[in-house]
């Protein structure tokens, strides 16, 4: 009996050793992590990384629900999706002892509403969503969301908005000064009417194309993510990113530990690796957003560190995260979106 026990524990050890230098399965956004960083992780740990990619939070959720949960160790959902996945029981938790680099997380991102106390997720990159304007076309004041929702004549018919329910409806709500997840009929009706009215002045809905339409000149103004706008500027478009006075949308992509992760230990190693300032900075230099890790500044490219898109003016109105509404309320927002795009 004792021998059997010994054999078993040796087997367990062997299995442990194998997984320590084994593999890691990452479910990630397209083009969101530099290959050099993946190679560095493999060089440091001997763990071979396979990456599978998705193109929207919902596509990731759909394919995990359709049966891929248990195939991946980590995924990179946005803030509201972390809350949804946690609610669905799709996330595993880690302890502070395991996540030795937990202390590297910037204080304001340590205790977040979508993962209180950071038990399942670590920050990957965060940024904001508002709009940019081509300054060759329009030189006026761009400090209000009215540029998108009640545009001046110069911009009418030349506006691209993100093809994303969350961003459009939250920015619209900010413009009207109504809270998220409201159930007040008058407010919802006003939001719906305002959007339908504004849509006449929009040229297109497009998320993937948000940068290209600004660079090519197809659109003179457009809702956009801050890092994306920085890239448009880097490509030569004279665009200015606005932090409007009504507020803007904040988002954060997070690395989460998935339930039934086949290589849980390696996933923890990977997450710790991403919390090293140098590695977090490498992602930022690649993606042009902002990391949620302290001490990254020395490793950042100068252009990224000082970009106006990543550094809101001191007096900018605060940003808001997308809230997860209850099902009945969400139905109303879905109906507004369908009505807008019917």
């Amino acid at each position: 009996m004792k021998r059997l026990f010994a054999t078993t524990s040796i087997l367990c050890l062997a299995a442990g050793a194998a997984s320590a230098e084994g593999t890691l399965s990452v479910y990630h956004w397209f083009e969101y992590m530099p290959q050099e960083l993946v190679d560095k992780f493999t060089a440091e740990t001997g763990i071979a990384v396979t990456i599978d990619t998705y193109d929207s939070n919902e596509a990731m959720l759909a394919s995990l629900k359709a049966g891929k949960l248990g195939q991946y160790d980590v995924a990179v959902p946005a803030d509201f999706m972390v809350a949804i996945m946690a609610g669905e029981g799709m996330l595993d938790t880690f302890t502070p002892e395991e996540m030795t680099n937990l202390g590297n997380i910037a204080p304001q991102w340590l205790d977040v509403p979508f993962d209180p106390g950071r038990k399942s997720s670590i920050p990957y990159q965060w940024g904001s969503t508002s709009f940019s304007v081509n300054r060759d076309v329009y030189q006026g004041d761009i400090s209000s969301l009215g540029i998108i929702f009640n545009p001046p004549d110069e911009l009418k018919g030349k506006i691209n908005v993100l093809d994303s329910q969350n961003e459009v409806l939250i920015l619209g709500s900010l413009y009207l000064g109504i809270p998220q997840c409201t159930t007040d009929r008058e407010q919802l009706k006003a939001l719906s009417d305002m959007l339908v009215e504004a849509k006449q002045h929009w040229a297109s809905f497009g998320s993937d194309t948000a940068k290209d339409v600004l660079v090519s000149g197809d659109a003179a103004a457009g809702m956009i993510y801050n890092g994306f706008s920085a890239k448009a500027r880097a490509e030569g478009a004279n665009v200015e990113y606005s932090y409007p006075r009504e507020g803007h949308v904040l988002w954060m992509d997070n690395v989460v530990l998935l339930k039934d992760a086949p290589n849980r230990d390696n996933a923890i190693k990977f997450m710790n690796f991403l919390l090293e300032p140098e590695n977090a900075a490498a992602v930022t230099n690649y993606a042009a957003y902002t990391s949620g890790v302290t001490g990254v500044e020395p490793f950042l490219d100068e252009a990224i560190r000082t970009s106006p898109e990543n550094n809101p003016p001191a007096d900018a109105a605060p940003g808001v995260f997308a809230q997860v509404c209850d099902d009945a309320t969400q139905q109303l927002y879905d109906a507004i979106w369908i009505n807008l795009k019917k």
Binding site: E31, D52, T53, A66, K68, F228
Partner: protein, 265 residues
């Protein structure tokens, strides 16, 4: 009236030229921008080969190589198998008399056309998971064969419908077995339909993103799934370079087949 002139319709040449211009004009853009020095696909920054260098030696080069290989091998296998299946089905549908369930089979063959891709994608993934298939190369191949069948079938059937039965009858009168008369008489007559069907199945498989993205396993990539990396970062010119390389490969095939054809004559 001479034979040539009944074949000739005024304006058809012009339309063909127009057709080719329309087909190739966007490719001129793709090729031109693959040599663009700027990291943008909408502004011009001078001539450069940097994106080709990036495709072959850049950090993502192994990924692109694997993706290109997967795409081409899956398209080749899926088109070949689907064309075989479709040819057999066409014979049964058009050369085996009337039978019960013929309309139903016709609908079945065309079913992959009728179901929106995203629905096939989600449904197939759920199904594979239910029966315990691990997603990977094989699941992509199975899914591709399935949705390629109607694209191969329709041109083959259209062709077979126009083939006079007397050729086969003559072959059978000369004591050819059914297999002999198929391979020596019917198949050569069907060839344009089979080639058309094969080509359509091939490009449909090569192009598929939605279904592949759902049924592929971790670490598996095809060119479309590698290319759709545009979402967060915008399309980079190295994708233009890859596309141009794919064009070059396909034109190489055309040229080769032309010369093989001529030599064979």
């Amino acid at each position: 009236m001479a034979l040539r002139s009944v074949r000739h319709y005024p304006g058809f040449l012009a339309v063909t030229v127009l057709c080719l211009v329309v087909l190739y004009a966007p490719l001129v853009v793709v090729t031109a921008y693959s040599f663009n020095d700027s990291p943008s696909i909408t502004t011009w920054g001078g001539l450069s080969l940097r994106w080709y260098v990036d495709v072959f030696t850049g950090p993502e080069a192994p990924r692109f190589r694997a993706a290109a290989w997967n795409s081409l091998s899956i398209a080749f296998l899926a088109a070949t198998i689907a064309t075989g299946i479709a040819t057999a089905a066409a014979l049964a549908m058009l050369r085996a008399g009337k039978f019960k369930g013929r309309s139903l089979t016709f609908a079945l063959i065309n079913l992959p056309l009728m179901v929106p891709e995203i629905v096939i994608a989600v449904a197939t993934l759920i199904f594979f998971t239910m029966i315990g298939f691990t997603t990977g190369y094989l699941t992509i191949l199975i899914a591709h064969i399935t949705f390629c069948i109607p694209f191969a079938y329709l041109p083959i059937a259209a062709r077979l419908q126009g083939i006079d039965g007397s050729y086969e009858a003559a072959a059978r009168d000369l004591y050819a077995t059914r297999a002999q008369s198929f391979f020596l008489v019917l198949l050569p007559l069907m060839a344009p339909g089979v080639v058309s069907g094969y080509l359509l199945a091939f490009i449909i498989s090569l192009d598929d993103f939605i279904i592949t993205n759902f049924v592929k396993g971790a670490g598996m990539e095809t060119l479309p799934t590698a290319i759709f990396g545009s979402v967060k970062q915008g399309i980079k010119p190295n994708i233009m370079a890859i596309s141009t390389l794919m064009l070059a490969v396909s034109i190489l095939f055309v040229t080769l087949s032309y010369f093989i054809n001529r030599k064979g004559r």
